[in-house]
Amino acid sequence: MNARPSETTGPRRIAAFVRNAVAAVCLAAGAMALPQIAAAEFPEKPVTLVVWSGAGGTLDTYGRKLAELLEREGGWTVKVDNRPGGSGAVGLSQIVTQPADGYSILVLTGTLTFGIAQGLIPFKLEDLRLLRAMQSEPSSLAVAKDSPLQSVDDFVAYMKENPNGLKVGGHSSGGFHQYMLYQMMQQGGFESGWIPHDASGKVTLALLGDHIDAAMMTPSTGLSQVQSGDFRLLGVTTAERSPFLPDAPTFKEQGYDIEGAIWRGIAVKAGTPDDVVASIQTAIDKVTASEEWKTFQQEQFQDSPNWGEAEFTERTRKDLEAQAEFLKSAGFLQ
């Protein structure tokens, strides 16, 4: 009957058009709304991992592995975005200027609390939800193989007799490694200077070249020297002996209550909804359960703290308080 629609004109045609259009719009709206209701699954679009350091470093290596495994294990689409600068402040500001929807995830390290305490990172812990600490590495007291010092006690005894008698150095000024030395000074009751280096590799070179007598360093930065025996680790700041360094004694077993590690983990902007956070945590669980992650951690000589949000936040808060105290007494802060 309706032979050629083009010939039908008049109000009836217009009414039909309006009706169809409304229906189409409703349908389209419904279709768009549908996946939100049905799936309600985070993420619906690519997620950005904002790494707060440049490409190629340890944090970046971790961030990229995480991205790869989130894609494979979690089915996400992930983009890695390196935002180095400002001791992490550049990356952090990138996160806090984005909506709190979980689509921008910050990949950060434990230098966060030092940065905040020193006033280098103009943000507060409360600006973030710290979701998971996935890697950690301790500090250690290292000497060259020809050093007469054999234990932490030897070191402490020598420094007590000869205040500032040894040149002690490590990565960064007022950071984690100096903080560990400070704790040793407190407990051992001695005085020591600190020779800061702007890259961890330079600490290795300085110790090898006898430009410093002892270093506070992450064992993995001098890995080949530790393995070859060129460096001797007098004490490691883990609670128990690390499976990667079974021969290196801890501070604890030598009677010093010194424990600390620099963590690497992820955070999102404060105010990110709980259901989104839950979806992220589920995906991270899949990653940490995978064989590939475990192998990766082994190869990288990384401990896996795997702190969830509550523990991670609590530890970080405590770290911040203790480090602010250290920075004040070491003269970094007024």
Binding site: I121, S173, I195, P196, K202, Q225
Partner: protein, 498 residues
């Protein structure tokens, strides 16, 4: 021995040659673009290398690294916009030579010298890695300070006409180098609360601004005046026998200087090129030619900056410590493959180690091959209208500035430096001393203060450390040579007048 044969098998396999060629092409383009140096090139490449074997991924990275170190000179010579920091020294004589209509010669010299430097640096790495590494260990903070000071004395050679203007430029550069977190006390200085400045004024922003942006403004201005273009004949890039004879000494001295400074972490190509140029100038019969298009003023820095590639790999392979930002990225890639660089790698993964060692040498040769095919085409950019070149430089300069840290802040900073550079050129202030002093300022300051911290305030550390003494004496010589020469010239002049 098996490792050597297997590594050569990898290099000369189809995929080995393919990645070397791809790396060379990419490297040349990335190096030629202002701001996108070897380290940005490698970080863009990293995700693609995960699926490759460690040997192939290293070959690809080395090839890109080598060619990017070289590629920076292409734009330095043709457009006075050095693509990398290490090419800034080449820009001075290279651009002057190209402006004389000898772009082709300038490019042949730079390609040949880069190849020679790359091969010699690679040979040093292959044969002398262990002794060179123990040499690097001799450098303490006092030694690094003295090396930095020695580098700074080459300002005189860059000043061109007026030493005062050169020194003012260097002063500006040193002042800019104090911006950022204090290396010892850890507190921010002169940052005006901008956390974008905590790591200091980004060196690349100054480089791109002072050289590239200012040049684009000048070119646009020339176009407005409808000044005709200089004629440039573009042909093959094979170096004539005459030029070989003229430049081989600077290529050799440049290679040695590049290799030696390349092994020092934080020193590398940024400084080696200036020192090599200064050395060649001091030895030259016609030092006044430098800055006006001297062949040796191209050959020396070019050889040295490619020789630093081999040098920078020395601490990585011999000690497991990266010697430059670029080698730090390569270390990251190796770690991604579950490998930890260091001396034990020689026994654990001999094929990989020899692939790297031979890779450096062969990558330089591949660079020569790709360059000789590619450069005559690239050199044609100088035939474009100046307005087009100016627009192109501006586009790439802004892209490069943004690529530093993906911050608009850096783009504005770069444009600011561009205006500064333009004004400096108008007042005939050389911009190179600013760049040199910015690179060296941090090295000098941080090591000076670290040395004093470790000696607990005793200045004698600079005179008891043998390396420090050596370089302080060299600095003194480097300052005295031009003064003595000027004095002699004046005496000769007064003699002839009398």
């Amino acid at each position: 021995m098996d490792g050597i044969i297997q590594s050569l098998g990898v290099i000369f396999s189809l995929s080995g040659i393919a990645v070397l060629l791809i790396g060379a092409l990419l490297g040349m383009v990335i190096g030629a673009l202002p701001g996108l140096g070897p380290s940005i090139g490698l970080s863009l490449l990293i995700p693609f290398t995960y699926t490759m074997s460690p040997e192939l991924s290293m070959l690809l990275m080395i090839s890109l690294y080598t060619s990017a170190e070289y590629g920076g000179s292409i734009s330095a010579i043709l457009l006075s916009t050095p693509g990398t920091a290490a090419a800034a020294a080449t820009a001075i004589d290279g651009y002057a030579m190209a402006q004389k209509g000898k772009a082709n010669e300038a490019i042949s010299i730079s390609l040949t010298a880069s190849t020679v430097g790359g091969v010699l640096g690679g040979l040093a790495l292959l044969l002398l890695a262990m002794p060179l590494a123990s040499l690097a260990l001799q450098f303490g903070p006092a030694g690094y300070f003295a090396v930095g000071l020695f580098g700074l004395t080459s300002v005189a050679a860059l000043a061109g006409g007026s030493l005062v203007k050169g020194l003012l430029g260097a002063g500006l550069g040193l002042a800019l180098a104090t911006v950022g977190i204090d290396p010892i006390a850890g507190t921010p200085r002169f940052t005006f609360g901008q956390f974008e400045l905590y790591e200091g004024v980004p060196f690349l922003a100054a480089l791109i601004g002072l050289f590239a942006v200012s040049e684009a403004i000048s070119l646009a201005e020339k176009q407005a005046r409808k000044k005709p273009l200089g004629k440039t004949r573009v042909g093959h890039v094979f170096l004539s026998l005459g030029l070989w004879k003229e430049t081989w000494r600077s290529m050799l001295s440049g290679s040695v200087i590049g290799t030696l400074l390349g092994i020092l972490p934080g020193v590398g190509g940024n400084i080696a090129c200036w020192v090599a140029r200064d050395y060649a100038r001091a030895r030259d019969k016609n030092p006044e030619e430098y800055g006006k298009g001297a062949a040796n003023g191209i050959a020396a820095p070019e050889a040295s900056n490619n020789a630093t590639v081999g040098g920078a790999l020395v601490p990585l392979l011999a000690l497991g410590v990266p010697g430059s930002p670029t080698t730090a990225i390569m270390m990251g890639a190796l770690i991604m493959h579950g490998l930890h660089p260091g001396p034990q790698l020689f026994t654990e993964e001999p094929t990989l180690v020899y692939a790297i060692l031979f890779g450096v040498i062969i990558a330089s040769l591949v660079q020569y091959l790709v360059g000789s095919l590619f450069l005559p085409i690239m050199a044609r950019t100088v035939l474009l209208p100046e307005g087009v070149i100016a627009a192109g430089i501006m586009a790439f300069a802004v892209l490069g500035a943004f690529a530093i840290r993906n911050l608009m802040f850096d783009v504005w900073l770069t444009l600011g430096f561009g205006l500064l550079g333009y004004v400096m050129k108008k007042l005939s202030f050389p911009v190179a001393p600013v760049i040199l002093a910015m690179v060296l300022g941090y090295l000098i300051e941080s090591n000076y203060r670290t040395a004093l911290v470790s000696s607990r305030g005793d200045y004698m550390i600079f005179l008891t450390d043998p390396i420090s003494v050596l370089f302080l004496i060299l600095s003194l010589i480097s300052i005295m040579v031009p003064i003595r020469r000027a004095w002699r010239a004046r005496r000769a002049a007064s003699h002839s007048a009398a």
